[in-house]
Amino acid sequence: MIPRADTAAGRLLRAPRAIFGVAVILLIAACALGADWLMLFDTEDMDFDSLLVAASWLHPLGTDQLGRDTLSRLILGSQVAIEVSLGAVGLGVALGVPLGLAAVTLGGWIDDVIMRVMDAVVVFPSLLVAVALAAAMGNSLGTVVLAIGVANVPWLARLTRSQALAVRSLDYVAAAEVAGTTPVKLMLRHILPNSLAPLIVQSTLGMGYAVLTEAALGFIGVGVQPPTPTWGNMLQQAFPLLDRQPILSIAPGVAIFLLVLAFNLVGDALRDALDPRMGPR
């Protein structure tokens, strides 16, 4: 019998949904990293003699309206999906966590200003922010990452603040404070590490949300522009042809679904695994 290591990682890897989620994420990440070796066709290779063909040995997911291999485009599209999810959440964490910690540490009117600004950002739906940014700065991967990342900031800042406030009232923090620990050290050494669990969960769920938002932006035509394939813009181009060649819409749709599902399952499992009250099961 395998010893039941009662660590967070151990708990996580015993949950089937987490195993599935991690496997999907690793698979898609591997596609993104190894795209150059995995793609059988250049994504700009057009074969005008085989437009909109169904699945075959040569084209396992068929070809699109311009005779391009759907599987190769899907693989290259995974790069954008992974880049956007990491980039947007990375930006959200990089701005949101320090803002939340600063609000707790500095308190008073600074706390108020920071949190009211965060409230103001939340008022604008992230899609709307993204459309406005794309109009102002042009459509590029950077704009999409920025738009989705900015939308993540308030949620992470709020979560950081509420966690840090809760942890700060604990006895060991008071003890450290009495022992003369500087506020910055107190925050980084004692409060932040003990507030991390919900942030990790929120970030993981945020990655799923980022993938979905990128796809939505691509679908309405303001995301990363063709000829760079993204799952969103592939879906946009395929959708009017739904009744003619359904696999063209189904392929990117399923890819988006799987990656978003994977991030959500992993996030969900992480929440359970990181919860100290859960204990051994």
């Binding site: 057009m46 311009l66 042009g138 063709p226 000829p227 042809l241």
Partner: protein, 527 residues
């Protein structure tokens, strides 16, 4: 007067053909006897664009004509080839033989919808209103040859000209030739923009912004069909604004609308469906053209421009993007179905070897990198992707700069931000409109404002010539220079499709010369 007679002869021949049109349609669909038009009923039409204004003179949207054509007549009406057609015009005849004047003999007994008589004074009022800068009339630039307007008698009106005006008849067939009631214009002021009063077969009954426009029958309409029956047949038309073509097609299938434009991807399915009729207009517009800025490197180099043009295979684009339902553009900016169309002029056709040789001749044997502006749409985006791939094949790396249509247009023609623009062009069958705007050295759409003396001279000559055969020769020469030096290379003409439920009759006459809908003679067969 000789010219005018020539027009009249042609119109008579044409009207005979039109008269037979409905029979042709019926024969095509296997009915035995020609149906006699039935009166009454409400036609529901779905259309993509809301009107910029209902007053034809002040509206600025390309979609305006769908509305004003239903409740206006023009001084000079034109057939689908843009040849003048007297029997549907407000002028019974015209004399354009004098280069210093144009004389129109007006139809008698015509009333505006408010009862104001249509006469020479009304025409004078309309043209003077249009020329007044305060009106901000959209077609004003096309009327600058007019010095003054004179009401010779009640039904004879004369335009005094500053210079010869070759495109006068085509120009009067567009916005500027639609007549507005002087009484209503004076009474309503700025409100007139959405409460127009004209002479046409329908009257505007209701306008709900963003939703629909409702027209009702003009009981006092002067027009008659070929058998002498009064027009129009319909009691009512409702034009519903539906921005998404997919939604329009769904509405037609659901029976919520009677008549729509059909996206090319759906045409096959409708042609096979016995519940609908489909009407085709060959050459809806220039759906894809290469527009160059001749002043902006590397497209200031004629060899490199030609290399780009020769590297592009429009047949591949027709097949992939338009599902085979489009036409390779062989007549430059004068599209199929217009009198100026001439497919025998040489165009830079697809030839990779030649493209590579031209690259070498242009000093860039290995290719180069450049920006191209484009605006995204279901058609433009895949077209741009193909162009990028085809140019890539001869070593030209194209960086696509994407912006919304008005922004991209402004960036290219005004901002001079890119050497190449991948765009489309509305159907303008009167060649002077395009020639003086795109090719003349001072034309707005001559992005680089590059002067070509030979072209300017030809364009001025064309603008001053009235005889269509002579004009055709002149505009062929214009095309030889434009396509030969690759100033602008139109690649594809669209085909426009309209689909209607089977009981909608008169579909064979639904397209005007601008491929826009013209509902004057539609009727509904009672089932």
């Amino acid at each position: 007067m000789a010219n005018s007679n020539a027009f009249r002869r042609r119109t008579l021949v044409k009207s005979a053909v039109l008269g037979a049109g409905s029979t042709v349609l019926l024969a095509r669909h296997g009915r035995a006897a020609a149906d006699k038009p039935q009166y009454g009923g409400k036609l529901r039409v779905a259309y993509q664009l809301a009107p910029g204004a209902l007053d034809p003179v002040v509206g600025r949207s390309g979609g305006d004509a769908y509305y004003w054509r239903q409740f206006c007549d023009q001084l000079v009406d034109a057939d689908p080839a843009l040849k003048p057609r007297a029997e549907t015009s407000l002028a019974e005849s015209w004399d354009v033989s004098d280069p210093k004047s144009v004389t129109l003999k007006l139809r008698k007994g015509v009333l505006f919808h408010d009862g104001t008589p249509f006469d020479a004074a009304a025409v004078k009022f309309n043209i003077e209103r249009l020329l007044d800068p305060a009106t901000k009339a959209t077609p004003r630039a096309a009327f600058t040859a007019v010095e003054s307007v004179e009401a010779v008698d009640e039904h004879l009106v004369r335009f005094r000209l500053k210079r010869p005006w070759g495109s006068v008849l085509s120009t009067l067939a567009d916005r500027g030739g639609a007549m507005n009631s002087p009484t209503a214009v004076k009474a309503l002021g700025a409100d007139y923009a959405f409460k127009p009063v004209s002479t046409g077969p329908f009257k505007v009954a209701e306008f709900v912004s963003g939703s629909h426009v409702r027209f009702v029958r003009n009981e006092k309409y002067w027009g008659r069909d070929g058998d002498g029956n009064p027009l129009p047949y319909l009691d009512e038309i409702v034009m519903n604004i539906m921005a998404d073509p997919t939604v329009q097609v769904s509405a037609l299938k659901a029976g919520d609308t009677d008549l729509v434009y059909l996206p090319v991807r759906d045409v096959g399915g409708f042609l096979d469906n016995p519940k609908y009729n489909v009407e085709t207009f060959q050459g809806g517009g220039v759906v894809f053209t290469l527009s160059f800025n001749q002043a902006k490197p590397p497209m200031d180099n004629q060899n490199l421009r030609l290399a780009v043009a020769h590297a592009i295979n429009p047949e591949a684009i027709v097949k992939a993007v338009h599902f085979g339902r489009a036409i390779v553009a062989k007549g430059g900016m004068w599209p199929t179905g217009s009198w100026a169309y001439d497919p025998t002029v040489a165009r830079p056709s697809y030839n990779v070897a030649k493209a590579k040789a031209l690259l070498a001749a242009g000093g860039k044997p290995g290719g180069f990198e450049m920006d191209a502006l484009m605006w995204p749409s279901e058609v433009n985006t895949p077209t741009a992707e193909i162009v990028r791939a085809q140019l890539g094949a001869i070593g030209i790396k194209l960086n696509l700069k994407v912006a919304e249509v008005t922004v991209a247009t402004e960036k290219f023609y005004y901002g001079q931000e890119a050497p190449l623009f991948l765009t489309s062009w509305s159907r303008y069958p009167e060649p002077d409109w395009n020639a003086s705007l795109i090719y003349r050295s001072d034309g707005y759409y001559n992005a680089g404002k590059v002067k070509n003396a030979a072209l300017d001279a030809l364009i001025d000559e064309g603008a001053a010539t009235v005889d269509l055969e002579k004009r055709k020769v002149i505009y062929r020469k214009v095309d030889e220079i434009v396509l030969g030096e690759a100033l602008m290379v139109p690649e594809i003409y669209g085909i426009t499709y309209a689909a209607a439920a089977k009981h909608v009759m008169g579909l064979d006459q639904v397209f005007g010369w601008d491929a826009k809908m013209y509902l004057h003679r539609m009727w509904l067969k009672k089932v």
